[in-house]
Amino acid sequence: MSEATVATEETGATNFDEFVARRGDALWRSAWLLTGDAHLAEDLVQTALAKSWPAWERVHATGSFEAYVRRVLFTTYVAWWRRRWNGERPTEVLPELPGTAADPDLRRDLTEALSTLPRGQRAVVVLRFFEDLTERQTAEVLGCGVGTVKSQTARALRTLRTSTHLTREEDQ
């Protein structure tokens, strides 16, 4: 299981700080895939943590605090990320690119293709194909029905398959 894979089981953390130290980076990676920007990702993570912190004692006792934070993170992104951030991102600055993938063009193309997805579909893609959640788990995180997850997933995949950013790569 990768670090990014959601841990719905107990993380082993005994307090909030320890939880953040252990799982903060994984949350940040998901947030980066949602936002495509390191600074915005950090802000999204901290917003989700700030919203979740008051519930630490109550939710931690159930062993599902990370799932709680993750749900806050994704629903925050879907619900009002656009309202808060859409106008702020400077258009002249391209999203920063990671350093692990071999092909910079492919990274850029995938980043741009993801950015064309509606926020709900992008959230579904990250949960299903980055965090490896099942359709039901994805539905629980987003607070929607499994049918919605299926339809959003299908639409997102169709969009990505036909994205000029990605098909161009395949055509060449």
Binding site: S2, A4, F16, D17, F19, V20, A21, G24, D25, W28, R29, W32, L33, A38, H39, L40, A41, E42, D43, V45, Q46, T47, L49, A50, K51, W53, P54, R83, R84, W85, G87, E88, R89, P90, E96, L97, P98, G99, T100, A101, A102, L106, R107, L110, T111, V125, V126, F129, F130, D132, L157, L160, R161
Partner: protein, 480 residues
């Protein structure tokens, strides 16, 4: 490998390594505490703004290079562990004793992790209004734009020009602050700690980044309490920057309230007239403006403005308290943005403007003891142009037979002792005021300038200067 497997692999490869953020938990707790305090004390509509109000402290240890563990950023004030809310981040008081208005001590590179930044302006050559709100979203980008400016060597000499100096005061999670000061005049650059970053040409990059981020932040909120901002046309159309907001005028324009300022292209110095615009009338004007602004790549060439046509400026205040000016010339208003634009008021708007002007007519005052000779001459010209019989009251001698519109450009002046037995000898004080004068044809067209010698007299400093005579020295050969 199917599409879903490919996508999984691609996403895993795509995501970068996260930055070191060891104080992430503390920052999140602080954010939650601030939000909770706000909820207890402010109206519900302000809560969303408050939650937004503390932004990400990113990479808090990246500046230290210290292996002993994370160290809070060096700041000027470490009086408490609980961060101040961004609305408590205030601009430093303006100093009148010559001391620096803001403490610029600190590291030569801004520490990462700032949670808020406020724009301030010290008292200076140009009066500029700072935004009422601090930036709390994307603060790291402003920090980055400051640090991206290279450290420049101390120059040997700098232009002695004037300009605007600005300050950005950053706040950190522990409540401490760090300020930088920038200018695009003089030596220019941004003072950060002991160094100057950037140059005259690049100093405003952090400022511009701040402004663009602040405007974006505002797009998702509204001020909890609209501030009270005075509107006076003290600067008038000739000084539109005085006291105006540092933020750009953006369309659609939505002023909370506004005043109309106007003056005339006449010869004498007259105060700018001012009248409040009725809210209903303002709504009509703004609706017309927002619907009928014309963008243009060139400024209209027909810019001659008759003395009877007022030059307008609409001075307004946005809901955020920003004092903005719609600068007018003749019957149009200019909107200076990335693309030049102008608005020519429609019939209903023009009727509103004309009604305001008609209700507040310009009264050219006769000179008094404090009016200098050059202004006496220009006031006389204005009264002649206006067909005002009081023009003749300004003469100690016989008024010339001028009528219609005249323009006069005062030049040199000197005091002289009159020759005995001449009319001027009858007065205690006599001055000679040279001026260029022309009579403007009725169609406003071109005519020759003549050089005139005005002689003005009076018997005491309490008396107004009177014009004794005006000698025509002929057409000015230079064609001025």
């Amino acid at each position: 490998m199917n599409d879903e497997s490919k996508l999984h692999k691609a996403l895993q490869d795509l995501v970068p390594d996260p930055p070191a953020t060891p104080l992430r938990a503390a920052a999140a707790r602080n954010r939650a505490q601030v939000a909770r305090r706000r909820r207890r004390t402010v109206v519900a509509s302000a809560v969303a703004v408050a939650v937004i109000a503390v932004a990400a402290p990113l990479g808090l240890t990246t500046f230290t290079g210290d292996d002993s563990g994370p160290t809070p950023p060096p700041t000027a004030d470490r009086s408490g562990e609980t961060p101040a809310a961004p609305d408590e981040l205030t601009c430093p008081a303006v100093r009148t004793d010559g001391a620096p208005a803001v403490d610029l001590t600190g590291p030569d590179e801004l520490p990462e992790g700032a949670i808020a930044v406020r724009l301030c302006f010290p008292a200076g050559f140009i009066s500029t209004q700072a935004p009422i709100d601090a930036l709390t979203t994307g603060v790291a980008k402003v920090v980055g734009s400051v640090n991206a400016l290279p450290v420049e060597p101390t120059p040997n000499g700098c232009p002695a020009d004037g300009g605007r100096t600005w300050q950005l005061v950053f706040q950190y999670p522990d409540g401490g602050t760090q300020a930088v000061e920038g200018a695009s005049h003089g030596c220019g650059g941004v003072s950060v700690g002991t160094v100057i970053r950037g140059s005259r040409a690049t100093a405003e990059r952090p400022l511009n980044r701040f402004i663009s981020l602040l405007l974006a932040q505002r797009a998702s909120g509204s001020p909890a309490t609209p501030p009270t901002v005075d509107l006076t046309c003290q600067g008038g159309p000739d000084d539109p920057d005085a006291g105006l907001s540092a933020l750009p005028l953006r369309t659609p324009i939505d002023f909370d309230h506004a005043v109309l300022c106007w003056s005339f292209a006449i010869e004498s110095d007259q105060p700018t007239l001012q009248a409040a615009i009725d809210p209903a009338d303002l709504a009509v004007l703004l609706a017309d403006l927002n619907a009928n602004t014309t963008t243009t790549s060139t400024v209209p060439t027909d810019r001659a403005c008759a003395p009877t046509v007022p030059n307008f400026t609409i001075l307004g205040v946005t809901s955020w308290g920003d004092r903005m000016a719609l600068d007018g010339w003749c019957s149009e208003f200019n909107l200076y943005g990335r693309t030049p634009a102008y608005w020519k008021p429609g019939p209903e708007s023009q009727r509103i403007l004309d009604t305001i002007v008609a209700a507040n007519p310009l009264q050219i005052q006769l000179p008094d003891g404090g009016t200098p000779p050059d202004q006496v001459v220009t006031r006389w010209a204005d009264l002649v142009t206006a067909g005002d019989d009081r023009a003749d009251e300004m003469w100690a001698g016989t008024p010339p037979a001028f009528s219609g519109r005249i323009e006069v450009r005062p030049e040199d002046r000197r005091r002289f002792a009159p020759i005995a037995d001449t009319p001027a000898a009858a007065y205690e004080k006599v001055v000679e005021q040279m001026a260029l004068l022309r009579q403007v044809p009725s169609d406003g067209g071109w005519s020759e300038y003549h050089e005139y010698r005005f002689v003005l007299v009076r018997n005491g400093s309490d008396e107004a200067w009177q014009i004794l005579l005006a000698e025509d020295h002929g057409v000015v050969p230079t064609g001025r």
